[in-house]
């Protein structure tokens, strides 16, 4: 059982992930954007943060950097639905994996992914020290 924080601006996606991870036995909270996610993390640090990449206001990559800076040991899994605005510097799938890897992200999952993939990534993350 782990403490997990799910950050996604899409309320249905977030609600579903929170539900499925709780059914799998984890303690889960949700946040609708990067700023709220950081607040939640400071209130009650999670072991694993699952964060969307392309969100309004504060993008996922920036959120990841901030999380890693304040919580170096937190395990992060990035999820992506594809480039929202390539003209504003959105990443290709390949570039995202490169950037995320450099930031210490455990895994990058491309939506739509199966919940089992997410659970496997979380198990893998928890197995790392």
């Amino acid at each position: 059982m782990a403490r997990i924080l799910v950050i996604d601006d899409d309320s249905d996606v977030r609600t579903l992930m929170v539900y499925e991870l709780r059914v799998a036995g984890h303690e889960v909270r949700g946040a609708s954007d990067g700023a709220e996610g950081l607040t939640r993390q400071r209130e009650s640090p999670a072991d694993v943060v699952v964060t969307d990449i392309y969100m309004p206001e504060k993008e996922g990559i920036e959120t990841i950097r901030d999380l890693k800076e304040e919580f170096p040991r937190v395990k992060i899994i990035a999820i992506s639905g594809g480039a929202r605005n390539p003209s504003a510097g959105g990443f290709s799938a390949h570039d995202l994996r490169v950037v995320a890897g450099e930031l210490g992200v455990i895994a990058v999952l491309q939506k739509p992914f199966d919940t089992r993939e997410l659970l496997r990534s979380i198990e893998s993350a928890l197995g790392q020290h």
């Binding site: 899409d10 249905d12 996606v13 579903l16 992930m17 539900y19 499925e20 059914v23 392309y54 639905g81 594809g82 480039a83 929202r84 605005n85 390539p86 003209s87 959105g90 290709s92 799938a93 390949h94 491309q110 939506k111 739509p112 992914f113 199966d114 919940t115």
Partner: protein
């Protein structure tokens, strides 16, 4: 009738801005679609274990999952249009790619479609994602088929193109060396207004088929990602030609040979008299044409064209600058003799290629090489054809 030419989408500022907006739109849609699909997919999985009527629920869930898959394919196309799809470019030969995809093209386009290929000789290699380039050619051919009435023709033609400064300015293409892939149809052509929307996602003149308008935008995005260009020439009543320009790969390494038998040079001596000979090959099996090209190269000859259509071959026989022609006896079920007659009228030597039987009169004594042939056999018959001509 005036021909409408859409040369490069970026040329006009307004069109460039429009395209940019479309790129943003499609990317945003893709992101949102993926979120929706994620919900459908996982909610479906969860429902399987919570619903009461298992059989009915399962049937509905299958329907939901199928739509989730369709949505996934759609988002992939949207990202391709945004030129952000992951690609794996490799050095490749466009002629060999087209030769290898003949069966796929026939299956996709259907029996009624008449497709001819005119493959330029000594085609330069390119660097491209093989699967995506094949998909792009199929999409262009499908569009051409849909635009062509029964009995019409689709032509896929490749060539090397050197775009110089003056041409570049006119065509909106950076000067340089390119390999062109032109897909032409003999359909009704496009009006200027239709042509101006040819790159709009979801725009389609095919009313009966929903969501088919991403073909050209998808190809455009891919070509752009390959640092190439795409032009569309169309005139009402005379059909449409879509031409892809891919930059020549300028590396020492040759394009990889795909699924081709190894050819052994029976004689290492390069014979005199054949050096630089310009040869036209008429053969409807592209792979055999490619093999013939390899043998001709070993002999020092240069294949200037590989033609699969009898009509096109007769046309070239009457006007092309060639020193010799190599003619498959049977082209699409029709004898190649009209081509032979045209060449004979001009005094251009030629020889036949055949996989079976003898030639009909009056060609029975004419030089012929029996398939499968090796380089020595080909050389012998070429020399016989050249001697007979003198």
């Amino acid at each position: 009738m005036q021909a409408a030419r859409n040369q490069q989408p970026e040329r006009s500022q307004a069109h460039a801005e429009k395209l940019e907006a479309l790129v943003r739109l499609s990317s945003g849609m893709a992101h949102d679609f993926n979120n929706i699909l994620h919900v459908i997919k996982n909610a479906t999985a969860a429902l399987r274990y919570t619903a009461g009527d298992a059989a009915e629920t399962a049937r509905l869930l299958d329907m939901l999952e199928r739509n989730a898959v369709r949505g996934t394919l759609l988002t992939r196309e949207l990202l391709a249009f945004a030129a952000r799809q992951p690609l794996s470019p490799i050095p490749l030969s466009v002629n060999r790619l087209i030769a290898d995809m003949q069966h796929r093209l026939r299956n996709v386009l259907g029996r009624g479609a008449q497709v001819e290929t005119v493959l330029g000789g000594s085609l330069w290699p390119v660097q491209a994602d093989e699967a995506e380039l094949e998909a792009a050619i199929v999409k262009l051919a499908e569009n051409a088929r849909d635009a062509t009435a029964a009995g019409g023709k689709i032509t896929i033609e490749t060539a090397n193109a050197l775009i110089e400064e003056a041409q570049a300015l006119h065509a909106g293409i950076e000067p340089g060396e390119y390999v062109t892939i032109a897909v032409r149809d003999t359909g009704g052509g496009m009006t200027a207004e239709t042509l101006s929307r040819a790159f709009d996602p979801y725009f389609s003149t095919k009313e009966a088929r929903p969501m088919t308008g991403l073909g050209l935008p998808h190809v455009y995005g891919f070509v752009k990602q390959m640092r190439g260009y795409l032009t569309v020439d169309s005139a009402v009543g005379t059909g449409t030609a879509v031409t892809v320009y891919l930059p020549r790969l300028k590396q020492a390494a040759e394009a990889p040979q795909r699924n081709e038998p190894k050819l052994v040079l029976a004689s290492s001596a390069r014979p005199k008299g054949l050096a630089g000979l310009r040869v036209l090959v008429v053969e409807d099996e592209s792979l055999i044409g490619m093999l013939a090209e390899d043998l001709l190269e070993q002999l020092g000859c240069r294949m200037v064209g590989l033609v699969s259509s009898l009509r096109k071959a007769v046309e070239l026989a009457k006007s092309a600058e060639v020193d010799l022609a190599l003619l498959d006896v049977d082209i699409g079920g029709e004898p190649v003799y009209p081509v032979a007659l045209a060449l004979q009228a001009r005094g251009v030597p030629f020889l036949f290629m055949s996989g079976y039987g003898a030639l009909d009169e009056p060609w029975r004594a004419h030089p012929i090489v029996q398939k499968p042939f090796d380089v020595d056999q080909l050389r012998k018959e070429i020399e016989r054809a050249l001697s007979a001509d003198q």
